[in-house]
């Protein structure tokens, strides 16, 4: 998620006009005049106020004139950028990016491991009744959908300021998003309670449990994102593990109610997480803060600039969970509930989701390289060579898709082997209530294909966001959700609930196809998009 916010602004920690000039000419080798330089400076976040405070110039235009004066000297040095990178440095960088891409799955892996070996996790328990499992599932899905946008918002905005060296602003913006996220969660909870009073879709105790988990999960997702922004993923994993330990010990040795324990543990993690986030920000402010204390942008501007990321966050999770909701709401003669958790479906998809870890890591590496190349290409190619440049990136992109596909296949195979081992030879799940039924297997196989394809869609999304074309991601995502819902609904009602997963597959297929087409379209006019970016 943080990839989206990371790439567009790699400038910060600059102390002299020369450094600023370097950055400007790095973005545009041959600006037309001082006005274009002023535009670039403003796009980098320089304001009259800041320019005056840092360099003593009257406004941005005066700074741009100063930079214009240095153009010959800078021009020379800007062309000297091309330093061949050593192979081991490159491998090290790639490995780091791969780990960054996969680390998001670490909490999920810990959670699954805890479920397998301790039969309990932070928001799941093997012996919960179907009713409680339904409530928790509703709370979980709702939390992802409603907080997904805030997670993207934090990732985007906090990174933006941190990379410029404005840790104070990053802290303020992070906490502003957290506060907004919590407020919205509370509002949604109240709305849910009211709606259930007017339309008693589920019995009140079930709604109350769903809301308890919804609020607690929202709190920890917001803390996770902040930790992720600060590159403190390991600390979060430790917190999560601690929380699981609290739940396990409390239940095993003190026989405390599982729901109470889990809620308590999640709130504990949230409080500790928020405290630590604050501490890390403060520490960074003391050590690294280079900027000056600038006011945060107007709320409406903040909302406007973050809106595409916000929508992406919410829509992405809707796409991920739409099929489950459809499957669980399939009517059976024996059920009096409008929606009822179906474990066999859930287990299949959960295990299939693991296959997304490796391709996401690979995608991180690919996107990093691609964007670095794109940035450098402005200096490598002359204006008459733009078609060659575009062609180069199109072919690079096509290769990337093949790599991702390969990674997806390898990941799916490993995932399948893991499942076979867990449910077969290892004997770990032999006497447990988790069963690998025909439905689970069917959902798992289709899920593997769908998530494999989704990896390409996610790669496309990151590329599009990096090139400031969120519209090329959001509309495919919306269409994908619609087709997912319609296909899943029809097939689940006509054939059986397990076929809702076909909806996921069709939705993801459409999403991947549309975004691939859009990426190719953008890459064929990359010069224009790079110009817009600069």
């Amino acid at each position: 998620m943080s990839q989206l916010g990371r790439r567009t602004n790699d400038w910060g920690n600059h102390s002299s006009v020369r450094e600023i000039a370097d950055l400007v000419y790095e973005r545009h080798m041959e600006p037309e005049d001082t006005l274009e330089i002023a535009a670039i400076l403003e796009s980098m976040g320089w304001t009259d106020d800041r320019v005056e405070k840092q360099f003593g110039f009257i406004d941005v235009f005066q700074l741009s004139s100063a930079i214009w004066q240095q153009r010959k000297h800078i021009h020379m040095s800007a062309n000297e950028y091309k330093q061949p990178t050593r192979i081991f440095v490159r491998v090290r960088q790639d490995l780091l990016h791969f780990l960054q891409g996969t680390i998001f799955a670490l909490p999920m892996a810990v959670s699954i491991a805890a479920m397998l070996f301790l039969h309990v996790s932070l928001w799941s328990y093997q012996y919960f009744t179907v009713k409680i499992a339904t409530s928790i599932a509703i709370g979980t899905i709702l939390s992802f959908v409603s907080v997904g946008g805030f997670m993207q918002g934090i990732a985007r905005q906090a990174y933006y300021y941190m990379l410029q060296g404005y840790f104070s602003m990053a802290r303020r913006i992070t906490f502003r998003f957290i506060l907004a996220g919590i407020l919205l969660s509370i509002l949604i909870s109240i709305a849910l309670l009211l709606i259930d009073q007017l339309f008693p879709i589920l019995p009140m105790p079930m709604i109350v449990i769903a809301i308890e988990y919804y609020l607690s999960l929202n709190a920890i997702w917001l803390a996770v994102t902040s930790m992720y922004v600060l590159r403190k993923e390991t600390i979060f994993v430790l917190l999560l593990s601690g929380g699981i330990a609290v739940v396990f010990i409390g239940n095993k040795f003190f026989h405390i109610n599982m729901i109470l324990l889990q809620i308590f543990a999640m709130l504990l993690i949230f409080l500790a997480g928020i405290g630590l986030v604050y501490h890390f920000f403060r520490k960074a402010e003391q050590q690294k803060e280079k900027g000056i204390r600038v006011r945060l942008p107007r709320a409406s501007i903040l909302v406007h600039t973050t809106l595409p990321y916000f929508l992406y966050g919410a829509l992405y999770f809707i796409l991920l969970f739409a099929d489950r909701t459809i499957a669980w709401s399939t009517h059976t003669t024996f059920s009096q509930y409008l929606i009822l958790f179906r474990g066999d479906y859930e287990v299949g998809l959960d295990f299939a989701l693991l296959s997304l870890i490796i391709p996401t890591g690979v995608a991180e590496v690919i996107v990093h390289r691609l964007m670095l190349d794109a940035s450098n290409s402005q200096k490598q190619y002359l204006s008459k060579q733009t078609s060659q440049m575009c062609q180069y990136f199109v072919s690079q992109y096509k290769k990337s898709i093949l790599i991702i596909l390969g990674a997806s296949i390898i990941s799916a195979t490993l995932d399948d082997m893991l499942v076979m081992w867990l449910f077969g030879r290892s004997g770990i799940l032999l006497h447990q209530s988790v069963e690998w039924t025909g439905t689970t297997n069917y959902v798992f196989i289709i899920g593997l294909i769908a998530y494999g394809l989704l990896a390409i869609g996610l790669l496309n999304s990151v590329v599009m966001f990096s090139l400031s074309r969120p519209d090329f991601v959001l509309s495919p995502l919306l269409f994908a959700i619609i087709i997912d819902l319609v296909t899943g609904f029809l097939l689940s009602r006509w054939i059986g609930y397990s076929n809702a997963v076909i909806g996921l597959l069709v939705g993801v297929l459409l999403f991947t196809f549309m975004t691939t087409r859009n990426v190719l379209h953008v890459l064929r006019s990359l010069d224009y998009h790079l110009y817009l970016l600069s």
């Binding site: 009713k131 007017l198 339309f199 008693p200 879709i201 019995p203 107007r298 709320a299 409406s300 909302v303 406007h304 709401s329 009517h331 003669t333 024996f334 009096q336 509930y337 409008l338 609904f489 029809l490 009602r493 006509w494």
Partner: protein, 652 residues
């Protein structure tokens, strides 16, 4: 308790909310607004929404996709397509909304400013509206009072008596559940419109079907009265005639309907269909005179609803539309030729829509509902003409007055409404008086009185208002006299004719129904089964729990073996619900001997007595080896609760 205030408040609230959202609020966003005041809008919207719901549900049922999500999906799609088609302005709305949102984010005080600006505007608008005179207020109070009395008469049984009214209610209960479970024509082909309407209310109100059936009966009656009030006030712009019509049908209805009067407090598809007859006649008349297509669409919706609900109500609708068409042919053919042809086309289209479910049912391989076939096939052997009452005489005189008024006065905007009502009165009277003898149909013989009674109220109300209009349109004295009559009428009626609520006959003890509701409330989500000899219990339980006839239970389960072990088996039957309730009637319910239905049920009562004795013996044996839990003990009924023998725990 069923009749407790809190219980009724809860269920009435949910029922009203579902009705208001589905049939009054949602249609605002789905259909083009008709011209006219808020009453016209409300009624047109409701008619179109009911028709839309019926067609949508039929289609979804045929393709096995009927449920809340798919229904809402169709509504969203319809709304989207409508907006897409309407204009580009609608498409720009999100942009405007987002801009407003941004302004609000930056300066939240915009909202408070807006509200403070809005307050004086509302106040100003209120001031601008001419305040009603005391006479108008007085008339309105009289109308309100009349409707309160009507609601009391027709709703009383619905909120105080737990047992469903008449035998038809049990069919309603079961058919709503069949539709809810996507079984179309479960008991054979029969128009399902009424059950679709109730099932939608059931789906969106989340209350027990029993309440839906009971409230819908009362609602139908009120809407029938409102239909009379609406058409007369819309056509005459005065209230006296409308109020008299409502009093005649709603308060003095027994004199017109005789034994069928109880139908007005029960939920009957025919009465529900008739609800839409007068409004669609009104919109059809409005279309032919004003030539706006939206009115024809509304009238067409009404025609189709009656056809999709009940054949008798469709007959009434057809006669009404023919009466309106004839009125225009006689009085204004040249100017309305085109509209009359369009009306004819709409009428033919409504026949197609009405017959579509029949065709679909036959294609799906369903037979026609047997009870309906028997009813339709029953011929009248002894042709007797109905004996005319004083009310019939008054109505016939009214018809003469209406026709005389029409001939003696110059043609004006009221001419076609007056002729339409007169023709409707004549046609329905002919059906009532000669219909059975000409057609030899039991349906006409039995049901024509219902149509005639409703028409009588309309004709008398319209005639009285026409007479008063002749005395002077806007004369203050005339209005004062009308207001005085309205007030006096209510007082006199209240004194002379005691206001008594309708209490339709029932088929079982209230206790039995109340206990079913209690069991359902507590065990619905864990599963339960009711064992009873009373087959009415099946209709109550279907869709929520399970039902087993007592006879089957006694023959199946061994009382001396572990609970719920079948004869000849050593294992406990795990394929049934874990909570079993045996209904033991200490006093078997019997309908009144004078009731026509008694003869049909006589045999069942004997059978129930035998079953009760067998159950007594079974329980005696069961008690010797088990502990029996009494779930409920009342004056007419004892309910025993059996719990499945739990499986032995496995020790590893």
């Amino acid at each position: 308790m069923y009749s407790s205030f809190s219980n009724q408040l809860y269920h009435l609230f949910h029922y009203t909310l579902a009705f208001a959202i589905l049939f009054l609020w949602l249609p605002k966003y789905l259909f083009i607004a008709v011209d006219g005041d808020h009453r016209d809008q409300l009624i047109a919207n409701m008619m179109r929404m009911v028709f839309f719901s019926m067609i949508t549900t039929y289609l979804l049922l045929v393709i096995h996709l009927y449920e809340v999500m798919s229904f809402l999906g169709v509504i969203i799609l319809w709304n989207y397509l409508r907006n897409f088609r309407l204009s580009k302005d609608v498409v720009r709305t999100p942009g405007v909304f987002i801009a407003l949102l941004y302004d609000l984010i930056d300066s939240p005080q915009i909202l408070t400013n807006y509200l403070s600006e809005l307050r004086p505007t509302i106040h100003h608008l209120r001031m601008k509206k001419t305040p009603p005179s005391w006479l108008q207020n007085f008339q309105l109070y009289s109308v309100w009072l009349t409707f309160i009395i009507v609601i009391y008469i027709h709703f009383y049984a619905a909120v105080t008596v737990a047992a469903p009214p008449l035998s038809d209610s049990y069919v309603d209960l079961a058919w709503i559940q069949y539709i809810n479970q996507r079984f179309l024509f479960h008991d054979g082909i029969y128009p399902q419109g009424f059950y679709i309407f109730m099932d939608l209310l059931f789906k969106f109100s989340f209350i027990n079907t029993l309440y839906i059936v009971k409230y819908t009966g009362g609602l139908d009656a009120i809407l029938l009265m409102y239909g009379l009030y609406f058409i007369i006030t819309s056509w005459t712009h005065r209230r006296l005639g409308a109020l008299i019509a409502v009093i005649i049908y709603g308060i003095l209805g027994h004199a017109l309907l005789l034994d069928d009067y109880v139908r007005l407090a029960a939920s009957e598809s025919q009465e529900f269909g008739v609800v839409f007859v007068l409004p669609s006649i009104y919109f059809l008349h409005r279309y032919i005179s004003r030539k706006q297509d939206v009115d024809l669409w509304t009238a067409f919706a009404g025609m189709c609803i009656t056809g999709l609900v009940n054949p008798v109500s469709y007959l009434f609708e057809a006669v009404g539309c023919i009466a309106v068409a004839f009125a225009f042919i006689i009085l204004d053919y040249r100017a309305t030729k085109k509209e009359l042809f369009k009306t004819l086309f709409a009428g033919v289209a409504s026949i197609v829509v009405t017959l579509a479910p029949l065709g679909t049912g036959l294609l799906l391989g369903h037979p026609i509902n047997q009870a309906s076939t028997t009813f339709i096939d029953t011929g009248v052997h002894h042709i007797t003409f109905p004996q005319l009452s004083i009310w019939d005489a008054v109505t016939l005189c009214s018809l003469v007055i209406l026709l005389f008024t029409l001939i003696s006065t110059r043609r004006n905007e009221r001419s076609t409404p007056i002729l339409s009502v007169a023709l409707l009165g004549i046609f329905i009277f002919l059906i009532y008086y000669f219909g059975a003898s000409v057609s030899k149909s039991e349906v006409i013989a039995v049901r024509a009185i219902d149509l005639w009674a409703y028409t009588e109220a309309l004709v008398i109300g319209m005639t009285i208002q026409t007479i008063f209009s002749l005395l002077g349109e806007q004369s203050k004295l005339n209005i004062r006299i009308e207001t005085g009559i309205m007030f006096l009428l209510i007082i006199v009626i209240s004194i002379v004719h005691p206001i008594r609520p309708i209490l339709p006959y029932r088929m079982q003890w209230n206790q039995s129904v109340e206990e079913y509701l209690s069991i359902n409330q507590h065990y619905k989500y864990v599963g339960y089964m009711i064992v009873s000899e009373d087959y009415q219990d099946y209709d109550l339980v279907v869709g929520d729990g399970y039902f087993m006839p007592m006879k089957q239970f006694l023959h199946m389960y061994n009382p001396t073996a572990p609970t719920l072990t079948q004869y000849g088996s050593t294992r406990v039957d795990r394929n049934i619900s874990p909570h079993i309730f045996l209904f033991y009637p200490t006093n078997i319910f019997r309908v009144n001997r004078n009731n026509a239905i008694y003869a049909l049920l006589k045999g069942t009562y004997t059978q129930e007595t035998n079953q009760r004795n067998q159950l007594k013996r079974w329980l005696a044996l069961y008690r010797s080896t088990h502990k029996v839990t009494v779930y409920f003990r009342g004056s007419h009924l004892t309910i025993y609760e059996l719990q499945e023998t739990p499986p032995k725990k496995k020790h590893n």
